[in-house]
């Protein structure tokens, strides 16, 4: 199955090059093809029970990687379809063509780097790919060239780069921990590190883990280093926002999980769990509070992303394996739901020309298909059945209940409820009610609707009946993350 990995490596890069040089139409087609192909190629990997390697071990895909690969490639496919419909010709053909080239080349490059991040073998290459995602996405955030976009892009690149500097420090410290076992001059491959981890020096591994959580946490959106997130996600073009929220945060979480794996084997599960719990609670609390006072639709969804990242971190802090299963399922469901939510926000932006919640009303009437789909997505984000997030949060909470003290679970439930209230309130105020008369009813573009339908379908599938192979995959991945018996 090594060919699958090599295909994944090639597809995004080729599409990026084509989008940059070829006429826009060809670029659009290539991007959609690349997205769908990436998703299609990652499907057979779901059923594999053993890790797949390629390129002499430099690429490696095990169960954990496949879960995140699904999250990335699913959104790659959907976003590429959405982006085709998102572009509107405008009056200036030349400028529109240039914008389209830049946007699509950037999208392809961005998705390529995210895919690479989950399939490369080793902490060093992981860091390199995440750094590439940062630089590409920073340029994409700034692509709209408005004041807000410039501010958001600058904040993003500054904070994320400082965070990645800390993460590089973490990589070096982990490498140093390994020199006691492997001597000098070894590759930071995962199997090697996991095998040698029990012999690493505990204090050095602890330092490395904390640095990694803080460093990659800036990319994941953990409080208190999340300050770039609401700005960047709301000021970026919608396809980019969807990818940032749905996939990039997940990839950053993946990096933290790799460090988690090694740390659990080196110092035991207590320390990493406490660290993640602290950050998770802070993120959830802050997001729940801020959700209540948003005026901008995309910013609302950005804070919702912070909330869900907090839930992921808290879920990892529970000892029961079922909680980890819930966490991984949550990653997939969040990708689907958040992507769809942003697609909906983008549709409204295209239709009504504003993201301001106080000025949008009667959305269901204005966009007869996208409106209800957006409502479904928001309900999904609030963990209502039959969405996938209901199932995943259920698993996380039941995992937490088996912990000796259920204080954390209680806090989790309260904060999630608070956050849902905020989301539901704003969703209903924008979607329901009478449509203003000056708005023409009807969808702007079929492509955007198709993308949203795909997202909702994925979400409901995960909630109602996840395919057997997928469940087994998630269980295998959870086993990788659990404490060794």
């Amino acid at each position: 199955m090594g060919w699958a990995l090599i295909t994944l490596t090639a597809v995004g890069a080729v599409a990026a090059i084509v989008s940059w040089w070829a006429p826009p139409r060809l670029g659009h087609a290539t991007t959609v093809a690349a997205g769908v192909a990436s998703f299609a190629v990652s499907l057979p990997l779901v059923a594999r029970t053993a890790p797949t390697s390629a390129l002499g071990g430099w690429l490696r895909d095990d169960a954990l990687s496949t879960v995140f690969l699904l999250a990335v490639s699913f959104l790659y496919a959907l976003t590429s379809i959405f982006a085709v419909g998102y572009l509107h010709p405008g009056s200036d053909r030349v400028a529109a063509a240039r914008y389209s080239r830049r946007l699509f080349a950037g999208l392809n490059l961005f998705c390529w780097s995210m895919v690479m991040a989950v399939i490369v073998n080793g902490l060093a290459l992981l860091w390199v790919s995440i750094e590439v995602t940062t630089v590409v996405s920073a340029l994409l955030v700034a692509i709209d060239d408005t004041e807000g976009a410039t501010e958001a892009a600058w904040k993003y690149v500054l904070i994320a780069s400082m965070g990645l500097g800390m993460a590089l420090f973490a990589t070096i410290v982990m490498y140093q921990a390994g020199t006691t076992v492997f001597g000098s001059g070894y590759e930071l491959f995962y199997p090697k590190l996991l095998a040698g981890a029990p012999h690493f020096s505990a204090s050095i591994v602890r330092l490395s883990f904390v640095l990694a959580v803080v460093g990659f946490g800036t990319k994941m959106g953990l409080v208190p280093v999340h300050t770039w997130l609401p700005d960047a996600h709301s000021e970026a073009p919608t396809p980019v926002s969807a990818l940032l929220s749905g996939s990039l945060l997940a990839v950053a979480f993946y990096a933290i999980l790799r460090y988690f794996q090694i740390t659990v084997r080196a110092v035991g599960p207590e320390f990493p769990r406490h660290v993640l719990l602290g950050f998770g609670l802070a993120s959830l609390a802050l997001a729940a509070l801020y959700l209540a006072r948003q005026r901008d639709l995309k910013r609302l969804f950005a804070y919702s992303s912070v909330e869900h990242m907090g839930i992921l971190a808290i879920g990892m802090s529970f000892a029961a394996p079922i909680a980890i299963v819930g966490v991984l399922l949550h990653v997939l469901a969040h990708a689907a739901a958040k992507g769809t939510a942003f697609f909906g926000a983008g549709s409204f932006l295209r239709k009504l020309g504003t993201k301001d919640i106080t000025r949008i009303a009667g959305g269901v009437g204005a966009l007869p298909l996208s409106g209800p789909l957006l409502v479904l997505a928001v309900l999904g984000l609030c963990a209502m059945p039959p969405g996938g997030m209901f199932r995943s949060e259920f698993l996380i909470v039941s995992g937490g209940l088996s912990d000796p003290s259920d204080a954390v679970v209680a806090v989790l439930v309260v904060l999630v409820t608070l956050a849902s209230l905020g989301l539901v309130f704003y969703a209903s105020s924008t979607m329901l009610g009478a449509t203003p008369d000056n708005v023409v009813r009807g969808e702007t573009s079929a492509a955007m609707v198709v993308a949203m339908v795909g997202g909702i379908a994925g979400l409901i599938l995960l909630g109602v009946h996840p395919p057997g192979v997928l469940s087994h995959l998630i269980e295998r991945a959870a086993a990788q993350l659990g404490a060794p018996t």
Binding site: A124, L125, V128, E131, V132, T134, V135, A138, L139, A142, D145, E147, G148, T150, E151, A152, A153, W154, K155, V157, L158, S161, M162, G165, M166, L168, F169, I172, V173, Y175, Q176, T179, G183, S184, G185, Y186, E187, L188, S201, S203, I204, L207, P230, D231, S234, E235, Y290, R293, Q294
Partner: protein, 231 residues
């Protein structure tokens, strides 16, 4: 009294010459980080960064010569050419185009910033310098000092309100991490180090692009205006 003298000279635990020189170079790197806190002109900050990168290259070359690690010569050369020459030239050119001289006013006075930075450096040196990091290439002190450089660069980014200072703060953070990587140098595979470098270069390019975009948009290099997005 002479007995005291004799006793003093015999209990002196002196680090070896190599250790002493390497640590002194690392201290110079930390001091240049502190000097950036004080520099009033954007030009001076860039030049200080260029000087800091030069000292990092000299340190790498010194370790290569003293410990016989030829890989490090390549690192030193890359570091010199990229960080001490290319990046400062690019940023200085941007400054010339922007026709901006002075660094925007700090959010705290220089003395307060220095004291805060001293406190952070103390924290870093004690907490991280106290870890059992044993390396054959650099003494443990250098590890703590590089962590201090990283933390002081955070002060530079947080308490300065213009784009150039923040960018220079980020670049000097990378310098600190480079010194830390020199501590474990006798091993990180060369290809990985080169990958780090080129990644850094790309990040620098992005910084440059965004600085230019910011300047075109707001006609200033201050981040005072970047406070629209709140809440």
């Amino acid at each position: 009294m002479n007995a005291v003298l004799v006793a003093a000279t015999s209990t002196v635990a002196v680090p070896s010459t190599f250790d002493g020189v390497a640590e002194s170079l690392t201290v110079v790197i930390l001091l240049s980080e502190f000097a950036m806190l004080r520099a009033p002109l954007s030009r001076s900050q860039i030049r200080l960064y260029s000087f800091q990168s030069l000292v990092v290259s000299i340190l790498a070359a010194y370790i290569a010569a003293a410990k016989g690690l030829p890989d490090l010569y390549a690192i030193a050369a890359l570091s010199l050419s990229l960080k001490a020459v290319v990046v400062p030239v690019v940023v200085l050119r941007l400054l010339r185009d922007a026709r901006v001289e002075l660094v925007a006013s700090n959010r705290a006075s220089v003395t307060s910033m220095t004291l805060m930075a001293i406190a952070l450096a103390v924290f870093a040196i004690f907490v991280i310098g106290g870890l059992p990091v044993h390396s054959s290439s650099l003494p443990t002190t250098a590890f703590g000092l590089s962590a201090a450089v990283v933390l002081v660069s955070f002060v530079l980014v947080a308490l300065r309100s213009d784009v150039v200072s923040q960018a220079v703060g980020f670049f000097s953070l990378e310098n600190g991490v480079s010194v830390a990587s020199l501590v474990v140098a006798s091993g990180l595979p060369l290809i990985v180090e080169v990958a780090f470098f080129f990644d850094l270069l790309v990040a620098v390019v992005v910084f440059g692009v965004l600085m230019r975009v910011h300047h075109n948009r707001t006609d200033t290099l201050s981040t005072e205006a970047l406070d629209q997005l709140k809440g």
